[in-house]
Point group: C2
Chain length 190, copies 2
């Protein structure tokens, strides 16, 4: 059992580095940028509270998915949603990161965690679509609270927001989109 | 549904403040102190990976408990384990915090979240004991990685560590105590 626990602890201590990956969005009081570890906690809490707004979802699976979803950023970095990007290069970097980071775990856990992450990325099952919707729904709420946040830094219009973010929120959580969409529209067009 | 979602969002945005509550323990690279939001994420990941080391536990319940366990610190502050403390005053502050913070939620969620937090605090069920053991098991690993961490700041001896931390790890997760105890002993006596 010691070899197994050694491997589990190597993974958990490597995961600590996610606390140093900064995202484009500030925390709500605008004092600093959010990091991907605290973002993952916040999203898991969103899932726990807002589960009833998803259709046919297992909240506990969604929470597990959200706890893991950003770990690849330890190697691949955060990709700001409004920045320029080479999707194929990012996907390749994230696949290599998943292989290395989940590969620290014992083989059975490595396979099951990686499958959950792949399911999130593919965005096809109800659980993945709801998780992805929450991942898109949380940042506009921080931007509204902080006085613009990443919209300010990237000069984002409402049309850009609707195309890159709104449609993804609506896909897995239409009720959450109905709630936040008008607030963002009023802010960005106001 | 809008009133209900308004209440849920008020809670989730208040929860954002946990990202600004600093703990006594540094992150593993010793670059800064850990905050209670990223700590909560790290612990939930510990539960997901190390669940097999608990006896008779529901990992998904433990994860839910750990996502919520530190929210009272938004009002009551973090209580460093090696500091001087007035237990009764802390308990009163935390009860008032739980009432206010969980009270932001719709009544049904307020009651169920608060019950889960009370269960964690009481430390009697297998789920609570395992969650509490993880909450005590993670910081010594960060202290070992960072070159002393909160042991350095509080001038902690191995005997003090064993009494305040070791026994709580052993209560809910004896296998984890067997793994980390000798490492801490070698470090603090070395």
């Amino acid at each position: 059992m010691t070899d197994r626990l050694d491997a589990q602890m190597a993974f958990l201590m490597e995961a600590d580095r996610l606390k140093s990956i900064l995202r484009a969005t500030p925390i709500a009081d605008d004092s600093r940028r959010e990091n991907s570890a605290e973002h993952s906690w916040h999203l898991a809490l969103f899932a726990l509270v807002l589960g009833e707004h998803g259709a046919d979802v297992s909240i506990d699976r969604v929470i597990r998915m959200l706890l893991l979803h950003d770990l690849v950023e330890i190697d691949a970095g955060d990709v700001p949603i409004y920045g320029e990007k080479d999707e194929a290069a990012i996907a390749a970097r994230e696949q290599a990161a998943a292989k290395r980071i989940f590969g620290l775990l014992p083989a059975d856990q490595s396979a099951s965690f990686r499958a959950l992450w792949e399911e999130f990325e593919a965005n096809e099952t109800p659980d993945a679509q709801f998780a992805k919707s929450l991942d898109r729904f949380q940042p506009p709420n921080l931007n509204l609270a902080s006085g613009g946040g990443s919209w300010r830094d990237y000069d984002v219009s409402y049309e850009m927001f609707e195309a890159r973010v709104g449609q993804k929120i609506a896909r897995g959580a239409p009720g959450l989109w109905d709630w936040v969409g008008p607030k963002v529209r009023a802010y960005l067009k106001g």
